[in-house]
């Protein structure tokens, strides 16, 4: 059982959250994006082995979305940060967003 730090409610078991997958995937402008670009946005993921920038939502609690950097090998959560802010540097973070 992972314990994830909700920025508002504090540490809660992972079962209280909805996992939101890779972070920082902005919806591109449909008018200027070709099919490949749209497929990229919809489906392509970096899925790194190591530090992963990802989204969580505290479904059973405050229902707020937030970002986290988590090591996908150790499952250690390195840091959490608000939606809409850039990916911070984190210890042992060399994946750089992949």
């Amino acid at each position: 059982m992972l314990w994830i730090d909700c920025p508002w409610c504090g540490a809660r078991p992972e079962t209280e959250f909805r996992y939101g997958g890779e972070a920082h995937i902005a919806r591109p402008d449909p008018a200027t994006t070709d099919d490949a670009g749209w497929a990229d946005y919809l489906f392509m993921r970096s899925n790194p082995k190591g530090v992963h920038a990802e989204r969580w939502m505290h479904r059973e609690g405050c229902r707020r979305w937030f970002n986290a950097l988590r090591d996908t090998v150790s499952n250690d959560v390195l840091t959490i940060y608000p939606m809409g802010t850039a990916r911070p540097d984190a210890p042992g973070d060399e994946a750089g967003g992949g």
Partner: protein, 1001 residues
């Protein structure tokens, strides 16, 4: 109980307990385990081994037991594969050894032992290949019958189970000296401490030894300490509880046996076993160590046991292992066992030590007592079938073989000790890496990756004093980390105990014949019958990795997970490959440490509590009216309301007719409702729906389709504009939560600039759909002040007013095609509204209808159900709903995807109506459709999504998704062979009132 000492031990001689084992009656004392009671009665043969059905006895005194496995109890409460060494004795206990028929004593399948030469490791991969057809009908069934240990019960479990979550600052695992010291230190500092121990009483190794702590018997000290811990408010001690799993983020799980020691049956309301889910600040692993057997020829005969086990049976249970024992060891510590036996008045025939100069301080004492000391020697053979009767001892020669003459020593028990393996299982589970220490040939905890510390024997510190010291220090440190105390450990009590002494790792004793020759077996894994020869064979065949060897030979794959076998097997493999142990690698331990019942893992979340049943405000009314319920997600919805003598078909037909001809009411409370407020609410709706809401007037309602950005439909529903910046959205029952999350996700992550608040009001409102030509009359009767005529209350509009004396919101929308009102009242008034409508409608023939009738009615009218007409690969265009796709809006979710190649295909599956040529035939929903009849394979062109007998049309109707369906109108196609290639016509997907003339009544 002829092997029971007259005095000593910690059993209660005042309480005699009767029990039956393998059909024989025995007596034991309270405080016994099944194993100790059997030994006290001189019985060592308990069961048969997995592969060769060799007679097996009791090897250990604890959780690591590989061979003394029993089937406990009978009937619905029987339990397979329990370790006799951990089964606490109770009066009337019955048990039998596993894997033996008719009994362990005379086992029919023992013949397999004679074919042993044909059954080396992995033999089954090499044979049973011919003839191919024999595998399924001859070979495999035979193997299956031979395999398996115990039997599952044949009736459902009468007992109950539960779970408990718990948080603590310090979790101490193991109630031996190190664990007790850690718990005391942390507890005294004021931290919240949880001490988990698998045995009935605290003490651990102390229970098997005669060492003194603080001037008293070690076990007595442990009991006193238990008392002190119990007195500390923030300390909880869980006995009979096994910490079996160490997961991420210091989440751990333990398995408590609450009533098993009382025998079958549990006090009312009491759970038999409990799963503890623990969140720990820091963890102190004081899990002790397991003595490892020595591997020598026929080392698996009943009567051969670990030295420490014999010591435990002697000192704790006051039971001698036999008349005459022989000790075989490679270390000093084991001499203590022999010494204790002599002290207790037992006989030790000889001590066989593979080392040339044993430094054991006890050696001289034993010799004084007349015990022959054979140094530089090994047991080269053992004799006796169902009990060891004698051993052959020989000197170790240069080059590892035997040399000189061989002595036959008579005995009925052999105590073996190959040294001690720290119990690093939980450390390994925690994702910590292990380190190998050559000198003692043991694996030790390496670098920890979680907030934990291993202490005492689990950390390779086998001395009693160091166990206490390490435990106290770790306990104090852990408490300090949680903010209690300054980390200085309390002073530890003085001890009177020998230091562990010297050890020379010794992995494989030569036999009288070369390994693998002749009948003798050097058993490494007692449960799965894996021998040293098997491991060498695996190495020979190219299995180099320890994981390969485990899987090929099954060493360590038994119910004991190799607690006694793994390290010996690994060392023998390394030797065979000419490598060091670390080079060969080590398998990672996985949960559970010892097996856990499915029941405990399920807890109370079974039966009616397995998953919540969601009920509406009218649920009890539906029940009282005998409704048949349909599970829709977690909801139970009335499916149909059979009247006496009616079957489903008749009931549904009646309900449909009532709606078409008079009035019907449906409980629609389960539909999702979302209150949407804010200056940008309209913008949000314009993005998430395919059609435009900016043009919707206040007080009016609009139907909308929702698509993902992949262009596929995932929900639909009506949305009412209650105010300039205020909407009420409805969703499908199944998607209510999902749609709210969908809106929130876009608002919070992609469009944070939009000022909109979404609030679920699904369960604020009970919703009744009142439908049928007489609906207006019925509603009028309960809503006298509400103007219901078409002009003042037109189709697709909303009104607020009083219905049945309650503030209500009424929508004029229709899912049946008939004049229809969806009346919303506060949930607690739902039942009242429903009953008022039933009463008012009686005169109009009002009839409650369920989801089945609703499905028929909407299908007649050609309305889709998301999840039935759609399956995640369906676009609005496929549904023929282009009319609801805005041409003006530059962007909304889903739009972009429709210009992709596959979405533009002409031959996509499109929604059509299907009419079977034979109007009486109703196609099963899901039926595939084809163009031609014949023999499979036949290409499919689509499938039936909805299909009913339509009472209104007096014939069957169906909706289907068919490739290029719209171009096929009028064509004849065929249903799948299951429906006898029934011919059907492709039609418009609307069968009733296409003009919508009925909606105003």
């Amino acid at each position: 109980m002829r092997f029971r000492l007259k005095e000593g031990g910690r059993i209660d001689r005042a309480q005699r307990l009767r029990f039956t084992f393998n059909g024989r009656r025995y007596e034991g004392f309270a405080g016994d385990t099944l194993a100790s009671a059997l030994i006290a009665n001189g019985t060592h043969l308990t069961s048969r081994s997995f592969k060769y059905h060799r007679p097996r006895g009791i090897l250990t005194a604890g959780a690591e037991e590989p061979s003394a496995l029993v089937q406990l109890g009978e009937g619905a409460r029987t339990e397979p594969n329990l370790r006799a060494t951990q089964v606490e004795l109770y009066d009337g206990l019955t048990a039998a050894g596993v894997n033996a028929w008719p009994s362990a004593n005379c086992d029919f399948a023992a013949w397999t032992g004679r074919l042993a030469p044909l059954f080396p490791a992995g033999f089954y991969y090499k044979t049973f290949l011919w003839p191919a057809s024999f595998w399924k009908f001859v070979y495999e069934p035979t193997i299956r019958r031979m395999a398996g240990l115990g039997r599952a019960p044949e009736a459902p479990d009468p007992d109950s189970y539960d779970k408990r979550h718990v948080h603590c600052d310090v979790l101490v695992v193991g109630g031996g000296p190190a664990g007790i010291a850690a718990a005391l230190a942390a507890g005294e500092a004021g931290a919240r401490v949880l001490l988990v121990d698998e045995e009935a009483t605290l003490g651990g190794a102390l229970l098997g030894q005669r060492h003194k702590v603080d001037g008293v018997d070690g076990a007595a000290w442990a009991q006193a300490a238990a008392g002190r811990l119990a007195a500390m408010e923030e300390v909880r001690v869980l006995s009979r509880t096994t910490l079996f799993g160490y997961y991420d983020h210091n989440s751990l799980s333990a398995f408590e046996r609450r009533t098993d020691h009382l025998g079958p049956g549990t006090p009312a309301g009491m759970s038999r076993q409990r799963l503890w889910n623990i969140k720990a600040g820091r963890v102190v692993l004081a899990t002790g160590a397991h003595e490892r057997p020595l591997v020598f020829a026929d080392n698996d005969r009943p009567g051969i046991m670990l030295a420490s086990a014999a010591q435990r049976y002697l000192n704790h249970y006051a039971a001698l292992p036999g008349e005459r024992a022989v000790l075989f060891t490679n270390n000093d510590a084991a001499y203590e066992a022999a010494h204790d036996i002599v002290e207790a008045g037992g006989t030790v025939g000889a001590v066989v030590d593979c080392r040339h100069e044993p430094a054991a301080p006890l050696a001289p004492k034993l010799e004084e007592a007349g015990v022959a000391l054979h140094t530089g020697s090994v047991i080269a053979a053992t004799h006796g079938t169902k009990r060891v009767r004698s051993v052959t001892v020989a000197k170790l020669g240069e080059g590892g073989g035997l040399s000189g003459e061989q002595y036959r020593i008579f005995c009925d028990s052999v105590l073996v000790s190959g040294g001690w393996n720290p119990a690093v299982h939980l450390f390994s589970q925690s994702a910590g890496k292990l380190a190998f220490e050559e000198a003692r040939g043991i694996f030790l905890p390496g670098k920890a990756t979680q907030a934990l510390e291993a202490v005492g024997a689990a950390n390779g510190s086998f001395g009693l004093a160091s166990c206490l010291a390490e435990g106290a220090a770790a306990g104090a440190r852990a408490a300090e980390a949680a903010g209690f105390g300054d980390g200085t450990p309390p002073p530890t009590p003085p001890v009177e105990a020998p230091e562990p002494g010297a050890i020379t790792p010794f992995w494989l004793a030569p036999g009288q014949k070369p390994l693998g020759h002749g009948k003798a077996k050097h058993m490494v894994d007692h449960q799965d019958d894996v021998t040293a020869a098997d491991i060498r064979l695996a190495a020979r065949e190219g299995f180099r990795s320890v994981e390969h060897v485990k899987r090929y030979t099954t060493v360590g794959m038994g119910t004991d997970q190799g607690k006694t076998a793994n390290v010996n097997g690994l060392a023998i493999l390394a030797d065979a490959l000419g490598k060091t142990v670390p080079e060969v690698g080590f398998t990672t331990y996985r949960p559970p440490y010892t097996p856990v019942t499915f029941g405990a893992l399920a807890g109370r979340d079974t039966g009616p509590l397995m998953d919540p049943v969601r009920r509406t405000a009218m649920h009890e009314w539906h029940e009282a009216e005998g409704a048949v319920f349909e599970p829709v997600g977690q909801w139970l919805r009335p499916w149909w309301y059979p009247r006496p003598g009616e079957d489903k078909h008749a009931a549904v037909a009646r309900e449909c007719r009532a709606v078409r001809e008079a009035a019907g009411i449906l409980d629609a409370s389960t539909l999702g409702k979302i209150d949407i407020k804010g200056p940008d609410a309209t913008t949000l709706l314009d993005m998430v729906y395919t059609n435009a809401f900016s043009t919707l007037k206040v007080g009016r309602v609009r139907y909308g389709l929702m698509c993902g950005d992949d262009g596929m439909v995932f929900d639909d529903g009506t949305t009412a504009r209650l105010g300039e910046n205020h909407y009420l959205m409805t969703t499908t029952t199944g998607n209510a939560a999902h749609v709210l999350e969908w809106l929130e996700e876009w608002l919070q992550t992609e469009w944070p600039e939009l000022r909109v608040y979404c609030t679920s009001v699904t369960e604020q409102w009970a919703t009744v759909a009142l439908a049928g030509p007489r609906a207006r009359d019925v509603l009028a009767a309960v809503a006298p002040e509400m103007a219901l005529d078409t002009d003042s209350f037109p189709f697709m509009s909303v009104k607020e007013g009083i219905v049945a004396g309650v503030d209500a919101r009424v929508f004029r929308i229709s899912f049946t095609g008939e004049l229809s009102f969806e009346i919303n009242v506060p949930w607690q008034h739902g039942r009242r509204l429903w009953e008022a409508l039933m009463e008012a409608g009686a005169a109009h023939g009002i009839t409650p209808y369920g989801t089945e009738a609703m499905h028929v009615l909407r299908a007649e009218r050609g309305f889709i159900i998301v999840g039935q007409e759609t399956d995640g690969t369906t676009t609005p265009h496929d549904l023929g709903m282009d009319w609801i796709v805005s041409k003006k809006k530059s962007d909304f979710l889903g739009k972009r995807a429709w210009s992709r190649e596959d979405s533009r295909r002409e031959d996509r599956k499109q929604l059509v109506g299907i009419l079977t040529d034979d109007p009486k035939k109703v196609l099963p929903e899901g039926t595939q459709l084809v163009e031609t009849r014949g023999q499979p394979p036949i290409p499919m062109i689509g499938h039936v999504t909805s299909s009913y007998e339509s009472p209104t049309l007096g014939r069957s109707i169906a909706l289907a998704l068919v490739r290029s369906g719209r171009a096929r109108k009028g064509e004849t196609i065929y249903a799948a062979p299951e429906s006898g290639f029934l011919p059907c016509k492709v039609t418009e997907p609307v069968f009733y009132d296409p003009e919508g003339a009925k909606r105003d009544g």
